[in-house]
């Protein structure tokens, strides 16, 4: 079957890295991803595996950083090449039931003992199961060569990864459930962080898919909080406002807006006080150091965007005693003392905000160069989320 595949090729990663600043579509052409005939994956060992027929598969920021060669070498041993990417997937099983994928390949999928009964795939405090067991290493579907991935007509999914969709929810909305779940995880982290106060100020840096989803999630989790959001493009700012941000500002003005909201001083580049929680949905050197200087002393920075390699002056982190917290995927959340699956909240939230508004364009796999170039320049081209549409391919 025809699918997009990423192979380990130092030359191609290097070429992509060199080309990407000049031309996103050029980087796709010379980069490690290619549309080829892949052999259909064999059914993984163990019970509970289903053939997952892809309807829509989103393009995520982490996919893009792989394709343009900027991904961290940290993941070299956590993934298995060649793999078919794609982890924001909505599709149907052979019996016709519509499902959305929770992509983490957790204990159940690998036949390991879960940390506790009913644990979600993402739960647990030891990641050993991600690289051991009967499957090849792979943190998620879409990074593992054993299961296949979303950017192909079908792949194998374990029943622990499946969330069945209500009939009324269109695919276009459901494809955003996975990124929204990530944002919900961050928002719950913010809500539960010891530094969040009632009516506190929460700053959200970046208004791409994750930033916008975070705004909605924070609005849901911390209803009384004052959300200050910064984005670069006008359509992002409009959506940010619609998703519940109280103050929106173009990127450069965020620190000023946080200062206004918190009534603090501005000392050089930093604020004297600042936001109780800053959610960084960008993950660049600038955004992280900006986030640290606009979090109040003792506040929390939630790192939602995948940062890869950044260079940071940590003096501010040290001086301000800021908690810098990574925020990866989802699992089981503690909301008001009750354990809830992140995906359940996300499905609900996607319905609530009409998440299909974020899906700007879909492409067939054959036009992957255009699709990936569009995704790489999403903000500038007035888009938010780009996805592959494989509904005709099955």
């Amino acid at each position: 079957m025809k699918a997009l595949q990423i192979r380990r090729s130092v030359r191609r990663f290097g070429m992509a890295r060199l080309t990407s600043p000049l031309s996103p579509s050029g980087a796709v052409r010379v980069g490690p991803v290619e549309l080829t005939d892949v052999s259909e994956p064999a059914r993984p060992p163990g019970p509970g595996w289903h053939r997952f027929e892809t309807s829509l598969a989103g393009i995520c920021g982490s996919d893009l950083s792989l394709i343009d060669g900027h991904a961290s070498s940290y993941f070299d041993d956590w993934v298995s090449f060649p793999f078919v990417p794609g982890h924001e997937v909505v599709g149907r099983l052979e019996d016709g039931r519509r499902v959305v994928l929770e992509p983490v390949l957790g204990h159940a999928a690998r036949g390991a003992v879960p940390p506790w009964p009913d644990a979600a795939p993402g739960d647990g405090h030891d990641y050993a199961h991600l690289v051991t067991g009967p499957l090849e290493p792979g943190i998620q579907t879409g990074f593992c060569c054993s299961t296949g991935g979303g950017w192909s007509p079908w792949f194998w999914a374990h029943e622990s990864q499946l969330h069945f969709l209500p009939d009324h929810m269109p695919d276009e909305r459901a494809v955003l459930v996975e990124p929204i779940a990530g944002a919900v995880h961050g928002a719950v982290m913010a809500a539960n962080s010891p530094t969040e106060r009632r009516n506190g100020v929460i700053a959200v840096l970046g208004a791409g898919t994750m930033g916008l989803a975070s705004i909605a999630a924070v609005r849901q989790q911390i209803p009384d909080g004052l959300i200050v959001a910064g984005g670069r493009y006008p359509h992002q700012l409009t959506l940010a406002k619609e998703f519940g941000a109280d103050v929106v500002t173009d990127g450069g003005g965020l620190a000023r807006a946080v200062r206004r909201a918190t009534g603090s001083h501005r000392i050089g580049a930093a604020l004297s006080g600042g936001a109780d929680v800053v959610i960084d949905a960008v993950g660049s050197s600038e955004s992280i150091s900006g986030a640290i200087t606009m979090a109040r002393p003792g506040g929390t920075v939630v790192l939602l965007g995948m940062p890869a390699e950044v260079s940071l002056d940590l003096t501010a982190l040290w001086h301000r005693q800021v908690n810098l917290r990574g925020c990866y995927t989802y699992g089981t959340e503690l909301v008001n003392g009750q354990p809830v699956r992140t995906f359940d909240i996300a499905v609900q939230l996607a319905d609530m905000i009409g998440a299909e508004r974020l899906l700007s364009a879909t492409y067939p796999l054959e036009r992957h160069v255009d699709a990936l170039a569009h995704a790489a320049a999403a903000g500038r081209r007035g888009a938010v989320k780009i996805a592959f549409d494989l509904r005709g391919a099955n």
Binding site: T249, R256, H265, S272
Partner: protein, 528 residues
């Protein structure tokens, strides 16, 4: 003999008119047979013997004893002076204020007065930099009074050093600098560049607190200020004069020294700016072409630096001293003598070029809020009786209106632009919803008191300044302005003057009448 101002009817042989365009200028052709250009009077001759005129004014004041007689050993004397917002552009050294204050100090020294403080009456304006103080006062005063702490700038947020003098029958509280209130004599040295300045406004705004200023610096007053240049029909000035009466009756004696200057604002090579276009010589035209070509090619920063380095060769046209109210009437006569131009009737459109400078950005950036303030606040208000444009007419300005702010001088302007203007451009709404937050912001307060920033509330005042014009005009168009910035101001962007006339036709029809306020140089149109 300087020629008076006049109104030129534009015909087909009228050359294109000079318009300011921020740090640059442009020539725009106005439609023939329905446009008129209001030219300012030429600069009046200055006083021949300035030294003598100053000492004559101090020795023979109006409705008051000579200064010499008011001075005695052991008294508390305070000298206040106008800040760097006057004059525009800055005056070539020595400044009138320096000359007046030195003369006053000589008399004070002769009389054996020991306790003298010199206070910059800057109200809520930014504190002056050291070099600006030196420019205004000269090195001798700064070197003599600075190190001993007797020369300082008024601080409207220093509540320990503010005191209430009294209350008007309208309930306006006069709260001013304690040192001024408790002096045995206050001498005020001003520069009366336009008719808005001077009189009680000098002290009542210059050394007042925010609370005191908010009695008249509000949308209500400024919408009823018709105009800023006509104090007898200005709600702002009425309130100030009521507060002035409190100062007169319950405050210290005030010896007001008001100086007027002519409109000789541009030295060579920029002197062609003040000439009438059809009188440009070959040299003037060459200079225009060369300067505008180079200004257009220079980065904005460099062009700004050049323009702000201009020092005007103003000459003093009059000096009056004594009792504030009597002095100010004479001063106004002197000012009007220079500025007044008789104009008949209103037109559908008023055009004006907005320069690189306004009273609130000396040596700084003309940010979008100041463009509004300069256009609708100052230049629109350059009238007596009624505005040059009919109610509901169109105001067309030319300015690049870039989104550029000086973070040292205008920190609260940046936030005002980002936060308040995205919410509303209505002065009344913003004053109710936002003003307090800005006025009480600790950071702005800190920067105003210790840095060189305008007070947090100042962008509101700058905006209110245009409240009357904003209400009066049916549409405001900025030619050559950055579109998104202009829209945020609530105005309409146009790329050329022709486009602007097209856009205006929605409001005023196909063949509107046009008045063009010819600046540089200042004029007040006496519209009948």
């Amino acid at each position: 003999m300087p020629r008076p101002g006049f109104v030129l009817e534009v015909d087909r042989s009228t050359p294109p008119m000079l318009f300011w365009h921020g740090e640059r200028f442009s020539l725009e052709r106005l439609p023939a047979d329905r446009s008129r250009v209001i030219y300012p009077p030429e600069p009046l001759e200055g006083l021949r013997d300035v030294e003598g005129a100053i000492s004559h004014a101090l020795e023979n004041p109006i409705d008051m004893d000579p200064l010499r007689a008011l001075l005695r050993p052991g008294m508390v004397l305070t000298i206040c002076f106008d800040d760097v917002s006057l004059s525009l552009p800055k005056m070539r050294r020595p400044d009138s204020r320096q000359r007046v204050i030195e003369a006053v100090l000589d008399l004070a020294a002769e009389a054996g007065v020991d306790d003298v403080h010199i206070i910059a009456a800057l109200g809520l304006h930014r504190r002056m930099h050291d070099h600006e103080l030196r420019h205004v006062l000269g090195d001798r005063i700064v070197d003599a009074f600075g190190p001993i702490g007797a020369l300082y700038q008024h601080d409207a947020e220093d509540h320990e050093n503010l005191t209430v003098v009294g209350t008007t029958d309208h309930g306006e509280v006069l709260e001013i600098n304690r040192r001024v209130a408790e002096s045995d004599l206050v001498v005020y040295a001003n520069v009366n560049q336009v008719a808005m300045d001077g009189g009680w406004k000098s002290l009542v705004t210059g050394v007042a607190s925010y609370r005191c200023l908010s009695h008249h610096h509000n949308p209500e007053s400024l919408r009823n200020t018709r105009s800023l240049m006509d104090r007898h029909h200005s709600a702002l000035h009425h309130s100030i004069w009521r507060l002035g009466a409190v100062l007169r009756d319950q405050g210290p004696p005030v010896f007001q020294v008001e100086t007027t200057i002519n409109t000789d604002a541009f030295p060579s090579p920029f002197d062609f700016l003040s000439k009438r276009e059809w009188e440009w010589t070959a040299r003037d035209r060459a200079t225009y072409l060369a300067t505008s070509a180079s200004l257009n090619r220079l980065p904005r920063r460099a062009a700004r630096k050049i323009m702000h380095s201009i020092e005007a060769p103003y000459a003093m046209t009059g000096i009056n001293a004594g009792f504030t109210e009597s002095v100010h009437e004479r001063t106004l006569a002197d000012v009007y003598r220079q500025h007044l131009v008789e104009v008949e009737g209103q037109t559908d459109i008023l055009t004006m070029g907005i320069p690189f400078i306004s009273p609130y950005n000396p040596d700084s950036i003309m940010n979008p809020i100041l463009v509004m303030c300069m256009g609708l606040g100052y230049m629109f208000n350059m009238y007596r009786n009624k505005p040059l444009v009919r109610e509901g007419g169109v105001v067309i300005m030319t300015h690049p209106t870039y989104r550029d702010f000086n973070p040292v001088h205008h920190p609260s302007y940046i936030d005002f632009f980002d936060e308040v203007l995205t919410d509303t451009t209505d002065p009344v709404v913003m004053s109710e919803k936002w003003e307090k937050k800005y006025a009480e912001d600790e950071w702005y307060r800190h920067l105003y008191r210790t840095g060189n920033a305008y007070h947090g509330v100042h962008p509101f005042y700058a905006w209110y300044w245009g409240a009357h014009g904003q209400q009066w005009a049916g549409r405001v168009i900025i030619v050559g302005g950055d579109p998104s910035t202009v829209r945020r101001l609530g105005f309409t962007p146009a790329s050329t003057m022709a486009d602007a006339f097209e856009l205006a036709s929605d409001v005023v029809g196909r063949s509107p009448t046009i008045s063009h306020l010819h600046v540089p140089s200042v004029l007040v149109a006496d519209v009948t």
